[in-house]
Each structure stands twice: as structure tokens, then as C-alpha cells.
Amino acid sequence: MPLVFSLVLCSAAALTPEQAARAEAIGQNLRCPICTGEPITQSTNDLSRDMMRDVREQVAAGRTDAEIYSYFAARYGNFVLLNPPREGVGLLLWGAPLAALGAGGFVLWRFLRRRTTATPAVTTAGEEDDPYDPYLAEVRRRTRQGGEGA
């Protein structure tokens, strides 16, 4: 893409700071259609700049976030939405980490609950504070086990 020598930056409608922040936040979630995976706020090419200006104009015109997103999605497809909608296929995406959290938590809970007998809360301070010696630990473990087994 060649450099384009235009002074378009200041031409956008004047926005209040809140509106500017909103436009920025929306731009973060719109993918530059001609780059590899960059939002239009990051990439420096002209199309991104024009799209960003378009976003600012729509914000100034009082359109909601959802309206602006669907405006771009209707033209570029869902591909352009970096914040994938939480509906349809998107539910699978958004649900997967939650499912992992739930399933993992359940398994962990069951595992930790499996203790049959409560071990007395004796902590050997020596074991805590000494530099760790695997050999010694193994000997301790063996003797302890032997003791319990007997």
C-alpha cells in the first residue's frame, strides 16, 4: 500500500471525550479488513483510518454500539467483528472457557474431597524450612508409610 498524502485526520466531527473514548473502544473491536488480524485502531493504512472516521461519525450521529457493529458486519461479514457476538456459534466460543472452568472445578473439588481420613494438621517445621533434599524426603516418606502400614 503506497503512502497516501492526505490530511484527513482532523476532518472528523468534533466529539466529546466520552464519545471519542467510545469510538476508540468500538474501533478496537473492528478488524482492519485488509490486514492480518489487526484492529482498525492499530493499523495505519488509509482504509482503517477511513473506517475509524466512519465510526466517529456514527458515534457523533448518536448510533448505539450494537448498531455500529451490525453496520460493519452487514458489509464485511462477522469476520470484521473482533469481539465475536455471543449468539449462535459464538456461544460455543464464549461457553468453552466457562465449561472448562466448571468441569475443572468439579473434578478438582471431587479429588480434594476424596480424603477419607483427616490427617492431623501436624506440620514439621523442619521440612518446611530446610533446603529441600529429595533423598531425605523419600526416606521420610518411606518410613512414614511403613509406620502407617504396620
Binding site: I34, L47, D50, R75, G104
Partner: protein
């Protein structure tokens, strides 16, 4: 890989077979999907897009000759919109096709062809391009890429085929060949060239 079942494998009785087989099955599934994605080429490289079947967004733009051109005024005629720029190589390759198309199918009441400039940094270059390929149809300035964004442009060249009723029937991305041009023309009821 969400499976945490090995945690529960500590019991003297091993976990049931299905649970032990879950990770390998998940792994195999993952590999299968990756394989499918790797071996099947992306199918929307040259056509489609969300605008197909929708009414073509209207625009009123100024041509390089200074005339105002609006899409609404062309209602009732099939329209071919070509987004291009002089610095784009494939645009050069397809330009003779458009010249031929406008010569054979253009004219009063027939097919309307419009060029829209995209990120043209020097209008002089665009004029030279038009002269070089003797393009006789209007080529429009698109300040701020408004029309380009409205048509969901992802790169040039891109050609939009609009039927008589003003509905987009086909979008071609990337340089046109005669065959690909005819595919689009056929969809808007224009005989191929």
C-alpha cells in the same frame, strides 16, 4: 484438552475406559479439524460476501470529469461496479476486459459500468490509466472511501454486479478473467463476452 480425568485416576480401580479414552479422542478430533482446515482451501476467496442478495447501497459521487453520478439514477439497468486504483497490478490486467465490455454491452438502457477509485493517491495517475486503456465509462472519486466501506471492500480490484432491480447478485474479489466476468454478468442477466 479440558479433561482433567487423570486427576481422578489415583484410585486403585482405574477410571472407566471411556474416560481414559476421552483425551486421545479429543486429540484425534483436534488433529482431524486442523487437517480439514489445512487441506480445504478457503472457499470464499473469489465470490460471495454478506452483501450478495441485498439491495446495493446507494451513493452519489463525482466523476473525474466533474459529473455527479448516483446509483439510484441507474435503477432499471444492470450495473457493474469496479473498484480500482492505478497502482494496483491486477486492475491493469482486467482493464481491457472492461473496455471490451463497455463497448459490447454498454450504451443507452444497456449495462452501466462505473469505476470507483480506491485510495488513489494521485489523480493524475488515474487519468493516465483511463487514457491508456481508453475507458469510456465514468470513473468516480470516493473521498474518505465512503462507498468502499459501504460495499465492504477488502481490497482491489473488486467488482460488484447489480441487477436491474438494484440488488447485488455477485461480488468478485481479485483480478477478473473473462470466465469470472461472465459468471457475474450471467447473474445479472447480461450476456457474457
Amino acid at each position: 484438552m479440558t479433561d482433567l480425568s487423570p486427576l481422578s485416576n489415583q484410585t486403585p480401580t482405574p477410571a472407566p475406559l471411556w474416560r481414559r479414552l476421552l483425551p486421545p479422542v479429543l486429540a484425534a478430533g483436534l488433529v482431524a479439524v486442523l487437517g480439514a482446515a489445512l487441506l480445504s482451501p478457503s472457499r470464499n476467496a473469489t465470490d460471495g460476501g454478506p452483501l450478495v442478495g441485498k439491495p446495493a447501497p446507494d451513493f452519489t459521487l463525482e466523476s473525474l470529469d466533474g459529473a455527479q453520478v448516483s446509483l439510484a439514477a441507474l435503477r432499471g439497468r444492470p450495473v457493474v461496479l469496479n473498484f480500482w486504483a492505478s497502482w494496483c497490478g491486477p486492475c491493469r490486467e482486467e482493464a481491457p476486459l472492461f473496455r471490451e465490455l463497455s463497448e459490447q454491452r454498454g450504451g443507452e438502457g444497456g449495462l452501466a459500468i462505473l469505476g470507483i477509485l480506491f485510495q488513489e493517491n494521485k489523480e493524475e495517475n488515474a487519468r493516465a490509466f483511463i487514457r491508456e486503456y481508453a475507458l469510456a465509462y465514468p470513473n468516480l472519486r470516493d473521498p474518505g472511501a465512503k462507498a468502499a466501506i459501504n460495499y465492504g471492500l477488502t481490497g482491489i480490484p473488486e467488482t460488484v454486479f447489480i441487477d436491474k432491480a438494484g440488488t447485488i447478485r455477485h461480488v468478485d474479489r481479485g483480478g477478473l478473467s473473462r470466465e469470472r466476468l461472465n459468471v457475474g454478468l450471467e447473474k445479472i442477466g447480461v450476456k457474457g463476452i
